[in-house]
């Protein structure tokens, strides 16, 4: 598998960019309201399916990289942080899209999810649990 390391890494990075961008755009569209055209598009089935597909590819590439570089969550702590924060990110995302009752609540949850997402990216780039705060 090491032979495909560069390609898998590229797939992983691009799916991170796509996943994050789509989440950003869907959240922004929903701020206009669920019934407005952008909001309806954000919640439409094709967009949802695109999001599931990108995230599945992202997850697959992540698992492949893990076995190629032989670094694992709960052994290598930068990966532990990524996994734990991934759950937080997903939870905030679901809360923002499904359970938020007011626009302000949705905006807050969406922004928090985006911050977490960016922090996960910084952890990945630094290979350090402290991410952007790493010395």
């Amino acid at each position: 598998m090491i032979e495909f390391y560069a390609e898998i890494r590229l797939v992983h990075i691009w799916s991170v960019i796509l996943s994050g961008s789509l989440f950003f755009l869907r959240g922004a569209a929903l701020l206009a309201g669920e019934r407005a055209m952008p909001g309806r598009i954000a919640l439409s089935m094709p967009v949802k399916l695109a999001s599931y597909t990108i995230d599945t590819v992202l997850l697959t590439a992540a698992l492949m990289l893990m076995t190629v570089v032989q670094q694992y969550p709960f052994i290598d702590h930068w990966l532990t942080v990524k996994v734990v924060l991934l759950f937080v990110y997903v939870g905030l995302g679901i809360a923002a899209f499904r359970f938020a009752r007011t626009r302000a609540e949705r905006a807050g949850l969406w922004a928090a999810a985006l911050l977490i997402f960016l922090y996960i990216v910084s952890v990945a780039r630094a290979h350090d649990p402290a991410g952007i705060f790493a010395g």
């Binding site: 598998m1 599945t56 697959t60 076995t67 032989q70 694992y72």
Partner: protein, 766 residues
């Protein structure tokens, strides 16, 4: 004579004839099985192996998981090699190498093509000639072979131990270190592997084909498909086309016949059936079933992952606790168990629902059987774990450990226990149905069919009890396929057809007589190919040519009804929309339609892909086998099990509103996940292996050299998307069922339809 009576007579005659021929085939297999020698000696008289060692070797092989780790004669797991083919190849190479070094002073691989061909020409008679003396029970081998056997045996003794020299190979084969810790056990294990390779490479007396019909493809010793495989493959395709033509004609004649319109009920007739205490008690069967399904998926994921990391699961040394052969055992065993639990639960639920009669202590019986099933699952799995960890001891293995026969792995004690449990189930279902069975009514015939299929499910499990600890492997295979093919593929199918028709009859959408005739006809068509089709699993398991011919011809006929399954799917679809209240059954019906789809794709197309003897000669035990296995076993029986569970749950909690969104997610995720698993990994990987098997021989297609290519790794990883989606589908199903108990929501009754709607809907009964 009425239509129904004629069909019953035809079915009876068909079953008597088919089973007579199947039993006769068993006697032929018994007579023509490769002999078990008393002694194997070298030309100078020194003993290489004794019968006791070969037999003990088989026990060792069974105790470590048998067919779950690698395969024998192509039957078993896919990550480790086929031990018969691997041994044969290694022994042939060792002889060739010995000659090259002695005569040319270089290894065999460094010789020119002409010289290699000359040595291969010398090797063929050496390996293929049958030197078994039936009077003394002795096989005598040339000294070169005796030397080669010592070399190959040393390799296996190293591989199955914890020798660092073979550590990488163990990882590639997903074997734990110290698979067989005892050195003497490793030596006799080699004896068994050698014997299976000997049978695969040695010609039958007075014949030019080997005991395994020249399987595996091994160019070094001239093992290539015999003429019979070409002949019967061609005939089998011809029979299939003839069968399709005949059935097409039958449909053309009968399909447009006017049938009495059924006045459709205004309300769901099952809605007001009051669930009796024993019917309500079956709920726990469905909860356990879902738990077993989730655990099965988990072990499946681990088993697939071992193909990538060998002994690790994402870095964790899992092979030390749950080695590959255990995760694969439990994965395959749970598949059959949870589907069987769906059958058992449905039978117990339907019995009193049909008759309205709750026999005394019925609930106690249902609860008792449930406890027994739990004990069987936990007890048999624990025994298998102790066996694979090599702590149970060979003397206890057969009864309480791991039998090593794929799908029939549990110890004999647990098989008896399960058989008795099935008899109890039969009694419980029978006594609930009895008042209806003895009453003269329209429903009697279809209920009789349903009951007969439950009797068959109960009794045919006894096939698993027909072999003993030391029964010849060819005969074990014969009975094992009675269990896997006849029990699972045959009578489960009859039960499925009968139960779906019965359910639609109960809902008032089909006339009892129409349904009975349709089910009887379907059963006749299915069993015409199905019973003798059992033999298609035995082409290369030490069986003679007539068995191959019968298996190829009749199993091709099994595909005939599948070619027309679109009729059934469309019919089911129409019934699903026949009345407004049928919306309540939308998802059970959708799962029944999925059953039809996977019956065509998984059982029909992917099944027939590997069915003709010539195809299977190259494909047996490659990834094209699990392609058929997953899409047919889960696609057909898994989907059916889920459909039945949903149907029973509808009746058990008729007043509740269903969260259709979760069920929709579950349905589509399960179907799309299964399709992705098949199309992204199993089909391309199997096809790559097929090319390798055709060009270089079977041993290469299963070797670490082939399976460890980066592209193969990549294909295995491609399972993750499909498997993830599939798992989400299973979780959604669990969430749905849990929600019925944890967050129940009542629904209002569906209103009466207009007269116009009633008239339109009545046409659906055609």
């Amino acid at each position: 004579m009425s239509d129904t009576r004629k069909l019953w007579t035809l079915l009876g005659v068909l079953l008597v004839v088919s089973f007579s021929v199947l039993l006769w085939s068993g006697t032929r297999i018994y007579e023509a099985a490769p002999p078990m020698p008393e002694r194997v000696v070298a030309a100078d008289g020194t003993e290489i192996y004794s019968r006791a060692e070969i037999e003990k070797g088989r026990q060792v092989w069974q105790s470590m998981g048998g067919m779950q780790l690698g395969s024998i004669w192509g039957h078993g797991g896919y990550v480790a090699p086929d031990w018969s083919a691997d041994w044969l190849h290694r022994e042939a190479l060792a002889v060739l190498d010995g000659w090259a070094r002695a005569e040319d002073g270089v290894p065999y691989t460094e010789l020119g093509a002409e010289r290699q061909a000359a040595l291969q020409g010398r090797l063929r008679p050496l390996m293929r000639t049958n030197t078994y003396d039936a009077e003394t029970g002795t096989i005598t081998l040339a000294s070169e072979r005796a030397q080669a056997i010592r070399e190959v045996s040393a390799h296996y003794e190293s591989l199955f131990g914890d020798d660092p020299a073979t550590a990488e190979l163990r990882e590639n084969y997903a074997m734990k270190n110290g698979t067989v810790p005892d050195a003497e056990n490793r030596r006799v294990l080699s004896a068994f592997f050698w014997w299976t390779a000997w049978a695969a490479g040695t010609e039958r007396p007075n014949d030019t084909i080997t005991y395994t019909n020249n399987w595996p493809h091994e160019p070094l010793i001239g093992n290539k498909p015999p003429a019979s495989t070409f002949l019967w493959s061609a005939f089998s395709v011809t029979f299939l086309l003839a069968g399709i033509g005949l059935l097409g004609w039958h449909y053309a004649v009968t399909h447009d016949r006017e049938e009495a319109r059924v006045p459709l009920p205004e309300f769901d007739p099952m809605r007001h059936v009051k669930a009796t205490p024993s019917m309500l008690a079956t709920a726990k069967y469905f909860w356990v079933l879902l738990a077993l399904f989730l655990v099965q998926i988990l072990f499946g994921a681990m088993t697939a992952h071992y193909q990538v990391e060998g002994q690790l699961v994402y870095g964790y040394e899992m092979a030390e606790i749950l080695p590959y052969s255990i995760t694969r055992t439990w994965h395959t065993q749970l598949a059959v168990l949870w589907i069987a639990v769906a059958w058992l639960g449905t039978g117990l639920y339907i019995g009193p629902a049909v008759s309205g009669h709750e026999p005394r202590f019925q609930r106690l019986g249902v609860n008792f059987l449930w406890v027994c099933l739990l004990v069987i699952v936990v007890g048999s799995f624990a025994g298998q774990w102790f066996a694979v960890m090599q702590t149970l001891g060979l003397e206890n293995n057969f009864w309480f450990g791991h039998q090593g026969w794929e799908y029939a792995d549990m110890g004999r004690f647990w098989q008896w226990f399960l058989f008795i449990g099935l008899m109890l189930w039969l009694v419980l279902v029978g006594r609930a149905l009895w008042p209806t069975l003895t009453q003269k009514s329209e429903m009697r015939s279809i209920i009789g069919l349903l009951f007969l299929s439950t009797v068959a499910i109960g009794l045919f499990f006894a096939a698993a009890l027909m072999w003993g600890e030391h029964t010849h492997i060819s005969m074990v295979e014969y009975w094992r396929w009675w269990l896997v093919h006849l029990w699972v593929e045959g009578f489960f199918e009859v039960f499925a057809t009968a139960v779906i028709a019965f359910l639609f009859t109960r809902l008032g959408l089909l006339q009892a007589k129409t349904a009975t005739v349709a089910v009887l006809f379907a059963t006749i068509i299915f069993m015409a190919g199905g019973v003798l089709g059992t033999l298609h699993h035995l082409y290369f398991a030490g069986s003679p040519t007539p068995v191959l011919a019968l298996g190829a011809s009749f199993s091709a006929l099994e595909v005939v009804p599948l070619a027309y399954i679109g009729f059934e799917a469309y019919h089911t679809y129409r019934l699903g929309g026949a009345t407004p209240w049928m919306r309540r059954y939308r998802w059970p019906v959708m799962f029944f339609i999925a059953v039809a789809f996977w019956n065509l794709v998984g059982a029909g197309l992917f099944g027939f892909l590997i069915n003709p003897p010539l195809s299977l000669y190259y494909m047996q035990g490659l990834n094209l086998t699990p392609l058929h296995g997953h899409t047919a076993l889960f696609g057909v029986y898994g989907m059916l099990g889920i459909g039945l569970v949903l149907f029973c749950l509808r009746g058990m909690k008729p007043e509740l509103s269903w969260h259709e969104g979760i069920l929709k997610t579950s349905f589509w995720c399960l179907n799309i996940g299964l399709a992705l698993m098949a199309l992204l990994t199993l089909l391309p990987l199997g096809t790559m292996q097929l090319f390798a098997s055709l060009e270089h021989g079977y041993a290469y297609a299963r070797s670490a050299e082939f399976m460890q290519q980066p592209f193969v790794d990549l294909l295995v990883w491609m399972r993750v998307p499909g498997d993830t989606i599939f798992s989400i589908g299973a979780l959604a199903l669990v969430v749905f069922v849990a929600g019925l108990w944890l967050f129940p929501k009542r629904e209002d009754e569906v209103p009466v339809r207009s007269e116009k709607e009633s008239r339109l809907g009545a046409r659906a009964g055609e």
